[in-house]
Amino acid sequence: METFIVGVLLSFLVIIAIGIIVLRDLLAAVILLGVYSLIAAGAFVVMDAVDVAFTEAAVGAGISTILYLGALRFTTDRQKPRGHDSLPALLFVVLTGALLIYGTLDMPHYGSATSPAQTHEQVAVRFLEVSGDEVGPPNIVTSVLASYRGYDTLGETVVVFAAGIAVMSLLGLRRRRPQQDISDDERAES
């Protein structure tokens, strides 16, 4: 049943992705990306990744949609129409996808308990067995995030800090200026 639910949600995601490819209106595409993130978050709950689900719902569907909307506000929400779709790109994508699907034939099946990721003693099994005593919190994801992989999380914070600095230095702190809107209108008229 779980597998079925995840399968249906994944099919929704595929439909949404096709919608994003086809749509020319960037605003609609951004909203579809938010829907895509939210449905992915729902599927993550079914697949037992509750922490990932609420991070994806808050950060992926929430904050990043707001960032995109802000960027559209300062640029334009129209994608210029092109007559044709790129055939080489389509061929490349189909070929790569076929190779990747060929590569999945050896992969452990969904939910397999005997796959290497599940049985390696030094990693997942050890976290499950001893993190309650060694670290404390009942939520194992918290233990791994803050303790066993603490440097990873520190690095993440550094990346977020650097990104904040980069955005500030690119855009500056002061905003923003009526003549942009006028030139927008002129461009729309011409």
């Binding site: 399968g7 994003i20 490819i21 960032l67 990721a117 003693e121 976290f127």
Partner: protein
């Protein structure tokens, strides 16, 4: 045969999503549209990792004291209370990846805004033409 279709369906759907994102990235000229494609690609990778961490019959990796009667850990490396947990490690990696992904896309969108200010367009090919001086802006 049927079993391997249901067992591998997730991977295939993830690959289709990845390729949809990659196609947007290659074939669309609008910079923000490219970012959206990258977002589709990124979320599909999250899906791949969470798929790898799922154990069927498992529960979220939060320690419980109670032992559900019918749910004995036959397969995963036996924890003391007989509950099957899904693998927490992919969850941790993806938590980091989500936050880093939003940070990088914020930088990319800021760049798109700056490009729009400087060139008056966010279409890739038009920017290149302006750079090469083919058309006067």
């Amino acid at each position: 045969m049927m079993q391997s279709i249901t067992g591998l369906y997730n991977y295939w759907a993830v690959i289709i999503l990845m390729m949809a994102g990659l196609y947007i990235l290659i074939a669309r000229y609008n910079l923000i549209k490219k970012m959206i494609g990258l977002g589709v690609f990124q979320t599909s990778i999250f899906f791949l990792y969470i798929t790898l961490g799922k154990v069927s019959g498992g529960t979220a990796p939060i320690l419980t004291d109670t032992v559900p009667a019918g749910q004995l850990a036959a397969a995963t490396g036996a924890t003391a209370p007989e509950v099957v947990y899904s693998n927490p490690l992919p969850h941790v990696l993806i938590l980091t990846a989500i936050v880093v992904g939003v940070a990088t896309s914020a930088v990319a969108l800021a760049l798109a805004i700056r490009i729009y200010e400087a060139y008056g367009t966010i279409e890739d090919d038009e920017i290149r033409h302006i750079d090469l001086g083919d058309i006067d802006s």
